[in-house]
Amino acid sequence: MSSKEKSTMDRLTAADPASAVTEEELARSREKSLAVMDTDAEHITVGGSVADFHQQHPGRRVRLAAGFGLAAAAAIVAGVVVTSAMTAPPTEQTAPAATQLDPAPETGSSSALPLPEITGSPTPTVEADIVTGGSGKLAVSTTEIDGVISEGIYMRPDVLRILKLEADNKGCIGNGFLFPTGTKVTDTGLVLPDGTVFSTGDVISFGGLEVNSKDVGECADGRPLVYMEEVRAYPGKVPNVGG
């Protein structure tokens, strides 16, 4: 590539309209595109779903299309969207009770309902608080809550805490995780507004963290919590001590 072309390509890259995309835009779009999970919406055409149509042999598609062409002369063929959620009674759409997540969902039918969403999270986990723990990505914004607030928090650097993911619909977990407002609670886990997925039953671990500064907040149900503003990964060998 010549230097003139290179300079043109630099200008092209700088002119990328997507460089103006904001995090708010992305968050709004993420929320909107995740909303498809709230329903059992399925696009139905005459003779089956759209997906079925695409899976058919091409020859059959042509014949079907020809048939539709003829039929269209006499009638309007309308697409129908069947949304079973529309028929669900309103009471089924209320927010779930505490400890919504069950590692082994009993019915699996909740996909027909809107996904429960964490609301009123007082000190939301933010991107900077999402750190890589001993076994994967970890959202941490609080630590030991009950009975230790007044003395402040200090986690022993030689202890690894291992917890199984669980959450209530306020985003508070007894052992001190807090997920942000807008986090979706699914059958299989949690989806943070930025799209980060945590699965129920995943063993997530952290250790050797110390609280360098803290900000006492309160869960929506009145439980106190501590917001860890800075966390550091445990640099040494991780002992197998359960949380």
Binding site: A15, A18, V82, D187
Partner: protein, 175 residues
């Protein structure tokens, strides 16, 4: 309307997991793809949601979708969007100009020059420089050979460079 079975629940749960993983991996890129090629934020949001509605349906059928497949869906959705826009207002040229000028680009000269490239060459250029795909990925996405991708890219770069140079010269003369 669905019959719930234990096996069905497992499939549903796996489908949900695949969908969430695909969404996390592809959403932002798909959204940006539409922002670069449509007339504004609402259209990009709608089209992105449309893509993930299709992805959701496929995941529920047990399909696992790669990023390239998701972008293939996005291309089809965009094509349909342009088709219906053209059908409704029958102003393809104006739409194209609006599209590139309304993208928020500060460099109008680049936008004008892009407009004058052949569509197939422009697409290869944008997929490479804006969307960040490799030649092999562009080849898979557009279903053309890697050689054709390289050729189009080479021509597009050269053509864009020439067009901008000409425009710059004209502008200098006018001053």
């Amino acid at each position: 309307m669905r019959v719930q079975t234990e096996q069905g629940d497992r499939v549903e749960s796996a489908g949900q997991k695949h969908f969430l993983a695909t969404h996390a991996a592809c959403h932002d890129k798909v959204y940006r793809y539409f922002r670069r090629r449509t007339e504004g934020t609402p259209a990009a949001e709608d089209l992105t949601a449309d893509v993930f509605r299709i992805v959701w349906e496929k995941c529920r059928q047990g399909q696992e979708l790669s990023e390239l497949v998701v972008f293939g869906i996005a291309r089809n959705v965009l094509r349909n969007h342009h088709r219906s826009a053209v059908r409704s207002i029958n102003l393809t040229q104006q739409l194209e100009r609006q599209r590139t000028r309304g993208l928020g680009s500060d460099d109008g000269m680049v936008a004008d020059a892009l407009d004058r490239l052949k569509p197939e060459e422009r697409e290869v250029l944008l997929l490479t420089y804006w969307d960040g795909f490799t030649s092999a990925e562009v080849s898979g996405l557009l279903d053309i050979s890697a050689t054709a991708v390289r050729m189009r890219l080479h021509r597009a770069r050269k053509q864009l460079s020439n067009l901008i140079r000409e425009d710059q010269a004209t502008e200098d003369v006018q001053r």
